[in-house]
Each structure stands twice: as structure tokens, then as C-alpha cells.
Amino acid sequence: MMEVVPVPPFETLYETHRDGVYRYLRRLAGAGEVDDAFQDTFLRALRAYPRLRSGEHLRAWLYTIATRVALDGKRRPAPRPVAQPPELPVLAGRPPHAELEHLTGGLPPTERAAVVLRYGYDLSYADIATALGSTEAAARQAASSGVRRLRERSVRP
């Protein structure tokens, strides 16, 4: 039998990814929702943790949960208009996902998630499909129409 990668202690996974997940959710869900979305993401992850059989692909798994939490939040009617706070000054050498999350602000949520997950976090279309609750083809489609929309926007005067 193949040796499976053991599931790490949750603290190890949490410490490794909490800041990245927090930044990701802040971009995707907005500054007003990020704290609740963060709690929901990791509580969902804890509930599902005993069912994991292997410690592989945990980063993709975690961002999948985060994406679902953020998109579920978007589908709920907003209790009040949520204005995005002004962007913080751009730091030199921002990681690509941060840059993308910044650029994709105006896209529809699904396209935005697909673009950020694909080009910022390097997730496969299969993983993105799981994250979006769609098919791989639909994930690919969402990413490419997101990219098309960004191109159109960037050439507009």
C-alpha cells in the first residue's frame, strides 16, 4: 500500500495559512465581512478535518473552503451597502495573488475568485471547480471571461 501523507496537527496548518487566508478573504469578501468569513472558514475546516485521509493538497482545500464562504456571503442580500475602504498604499514586491486581488476588484465574484485562484494561487481548474461548486469547464470559462473583462477594461481610455 502507498504511504499516505499524514494529516498534520491543525495548529500547524492554521499557523501556516491563517495570514494568507485572512488577506484572501479580505479581498474577496470585503473588509466588513472578513472577520466573520475567517471564523467560518476555519470552523468549517475543523468540522471536516476528521474526514481527511491525507495531508496532501491542504492549501488548495483550505482556499476552496474560504472561497465558498466568501461566495456564500456574497449571495446573501447585503444587510447594508458595504463600501470598500480605500486601498492601502501599494507595497513594493507584493506577491502576485495580492496584486491580482487588487486588480480584479470590479469583476463579478465568481470570475474574480476563478482568476485569483488560478493566476494568484496557482490552483488547478479541478480545485477551482470544487471551490466554486461548478464543473472544471465552468471554472475555466469563469477564469477566461474574467481575464477578457480585465483586458477590455485595461484598453479602455
Binding site: P6, V7, P8, P9, F10, E11, T12, Y14, R18, D19, Y22, R23, R26, D35, F38, Q39, F42, L43, L46, R47, Y49, P50
Partner: protein, 186 residues
């Protein structure tokens, strides 16, 4: 940007109160130095003289489950009883203990160890006799050496046949200090 401390703390507390943790741990400051204390829903499962969780998390996950987080509140009862013990105000722990999956002999020895009273000592041979294996003093020593919850289960009260202190996971000096505390000399 990092997670705000308050958000991080709230997640840890909610995970514990919603019953989602197999193990919660925290560092407990004591006069003998910082201790790492871990608890399961069933009881205290680890007291370590090395407060760095790094080495402990994987074995804890294997024994009790991988849903492990540092969280203050679940460890609070243990912290309180340890504080009282070190202040000389407690001579027996009321904390339940979770020994997890242990070999039967070790479990037997540790369970019997709990009956050695505060301020008293027992020899390895004496403890072996108490568990019905009078010639197994050396095996008793081995079982005590791997006691996952020292202080709470008082392996410091077990001494050599001549009364010499012999081994202790936290060092002989610490063993002497705990016995002194219990005899009212500290």
C-alpha cells in the same frame, strides 16, 4: 497584513466552545519554569517541562486526533490547580486525566501512582508490588519515565530503594524541589 490578534483569539475560543477540538494546549507559567499543558475533552493528556509545542503536536495528533489548537480557556482548570499546587494550597489534583492509548502495564502503573499521597514517597519496588508485579521494579521505572502527565500524576514521589531520588524527566533538581514543596520545606 496578518490576522488581528482578537480575530485569532476568537477563532481559538470558538473552536473549543463548539467542541471541535481533540486537543487544546497552552503554556502555563509555574515557579519551576513554563510548562506545556494539553487537555482533551476527557482530561489532561500532557504536562511537559519543555514548553515548545513543536515536538509535541505530532505525537498528540497520533494519540488523540489532529484537531489540535492552542487555546487558553480549556486549559484554565489545569492552570488553576497547578497554580494552587505550586502555591502549597493543593495536595491532590481533581483534574481528570486522559492517558490515551497506552500499553496496559503502563496504564496500570500510572493509575496506581495516583494513590501515592502528597508529601509521601514510594520506591520503584514498592510500586511494582502494589500492581502485583513485585519483581518488575525496572519496568515500573520505564513506565514512570514515560509518564505523560508529571506533577498531576506524581512520579516525583517514586524514589530508589535506598531513598535516592534517581531519574526524573524534569531533572533530579526539580524532583527534589517538588518533594521539598510537598514536605513544606520549600
Amino acid at each position: 497584513m496578518t490576522v488581528p490578534a482578537e480575530v485569532d483569539r476568537r477563532l481559538r475560543e470558538r473552536a473549543a466552545t463548539e467542541g471541535l477540538l481533540d486537543v487544546a494546549y497552552d503554556v502555563v507559567e509555574a515557579p519551576i519554569g513554563a510548562l506545556l499543558v494539553a487537555v482533551t475533552p476527557a482530561g489532561v493528556c500532557l504536562v511537559s517541562f519543555d514548553p515548545d509545542p513543536e515536538q509535541q503536536l505530532v505525537p498528540l495528533a497520533r494519540a488523540f486526533g489532529a484537531r489540535i489548537l492552542q487555546a487558553a480557556r480549556p486549559v484554565e482548570p489545569a492552570r488553576r490547580e497547578l497554580d494552587e499546587y505550586f502555591a502549597g494550597r493543593r495536595d491532590a489534583f481533581d483534574l481528570p486525566v486522559d492517558l490515551g492509548p497506552l500499553p496496559a502495564f503502563q496504564r496500570l502503573v500510572l493509575t496506581e501512582l495516583a494513590n501515592v499521597p502528597y508529601g509521601a514517597t514510594e520506591t520503584y519496588g514498592g510500586l511494582a508490588a502494589r500492581v502485583g508485579r513485585p519483581r518488575a521494579a525496572r519496568a515500573v521505572g520505564g513506565a514512570l519515565n514515560r509518564n505523560p502527565v508529571p506533577i498531576v500524576l506524581p512520579c516525583h514521589r517514586v524514589v530508589g530503594s535506598t531513598g535516592r531520588l534517581v531519574g526524573y524527566a524534569g531533572g533530579l533538581e526539580l524532583k527534589a524541589r517538588l518533594l521539598a514543596l510537598e514536605s513544606g520545606l520549600a
